[in-house]
Symmetry: C2
DNA sequence: TTATTTTATGAATGATGATTCATTTATCAT
DNA sequence: ATGATAAATGAATCATCATTCATAAAATAA
């Protein structure tokens, strides 16, 4: 029998991320992806059942990773609420750091999966948003966060702000240096989340920005 | 000569907003839009040169309106920085309030225009983001906002957070009541933007949430 | 009424591009 | 080597619409 030459599945994913980022899902043609991966058009279909399924695969692994690292941070009982936020932001940016096109696809193409009500995607998405909500609720119980915040609305705002900043960074890394973004997000969100009475507490100043 | 029966241009726009919101730009077929507007397929092309141009028209008028109302607020010298923020948030939500599908299109389809580098769109978008940046800078000069904030990054985060919350609201208005969203956004952003030393100042508490 | 012009129609056109499949190529076991 | 099987190819297929256009309908003016 003939052996597979190299990891074509990985090559297709990598190529698709680039092409989806540049041209958008519909602008991206299968032959663009195949060209980019250095294979023939038909070969794509030996590894994926459809163009759609390539996108699904990309989102699935992104969410799996993001969810896992967030879960680890949030379940770590030795970290305080504010430290956890710090770590979460770092985890998100670290994940996309070496792959700006992935960030573009992640932000720009999500609505397609929402529209198709893709279960794989919806599952991870809901779990992750739920995790952030739980984190906010626990922070309130711990008196780290203001008791008046609404975990559902706050988590969506933060998630949305992060997404958008990630996209801007992916478009132009020079104008939006990652370290600056991290610092700003932490500052903006924390100073809003942290109860005003705790603004100058030791816990707050302990975190190194 | 024959007279036009009713405002078909407006009917097309209205129908397109609904269909784009539900199916996305590519899922939306011209005959869907025509059906929804109560006209024949070909008639669409008497009013718009292409499907793309319908989307452009929608974005152009949305940005024109949003820009105008923000400009009025920000240039109003009788308002303080914090009052202005209050008004800006209200203006955005008031604009989309009666039209959830418009909010969905506005959030979900923006990247298409960015990708095509649509000049009409880019012009208004840049002007509006620039306006928000100027507003933040002036707030810093007025000592209303913390001097350490980065106007470019902060304005993008806020814009992104707003967009995302708007989308959630459009999907499910019951779970995300508009008044709750307004209140939360104002709280989160202001408590982050306002210099810590001013947290309990009169100006801050004067604003009715 | 009838000619003229504008508006509207929806079936036909034509381009596009995802997917398929008949064919070829490489590898291995015998 | 030779047959058998897995991998890979890329031209052909086929369905899907955006757009066009020949035709009809409505309104007005003469």
């Amino acid at each position: 029998m003939r052996k597979k030459e190299g990891d074509k599945q990985a090559a297709i994913i990598e190529a698709a991320i680039k092409v989806f980022a540049q041209l958008g899902f519909h602008g991206a043609k299968i032959y663009h992806i195949a060209d980019n991966a250095g294979i023939a058009t038909g070969t794509v279909y030996l590894y994926f059942s459809s163009k759609e399924s390539i996108l699904e695969n990309i989102f699935e692994s992104a969410w799996k990773q993001l969810f896992k690292s967030m879960e680890t941070i949030i379940n770590n009982t030795s970290l305080g609420s504010i430290e956890k936020f710090d770590f979460i932001i770092n985890a998100v940016f670290d994940y996309f750091n070496s792959n700006p096109p992935l960030a573009m696809v992640f932000v720009n193409e999500q609505h397609r999966l929402v529209q198709k009500d893709n279960q794989q995607f919806t599952g991870f998405y809901n779990k992750t948003i739920g995790l952030i909500e739980r984190y906010l609720r626990e922070g309130i119980l711990d008196k780290a966060f203001d008791s008046s915040i609404d975990p559902v609305i706050y988590s969506n705002f933060i998630f949305g702000g992060l997404r958008y900043l990630l996209l801007q960074w992916a478009h132009d890394q020079k104008s939006y240096p990652l370290d600056m973004i991290r610092k700003c997000v932490k500052n903006l969100v924390l100073s809003g989340i942290v109860g005003k009475n705790l603004t100058n507490s030791v816990a707050f100043n302990d975190v190194a920005f």
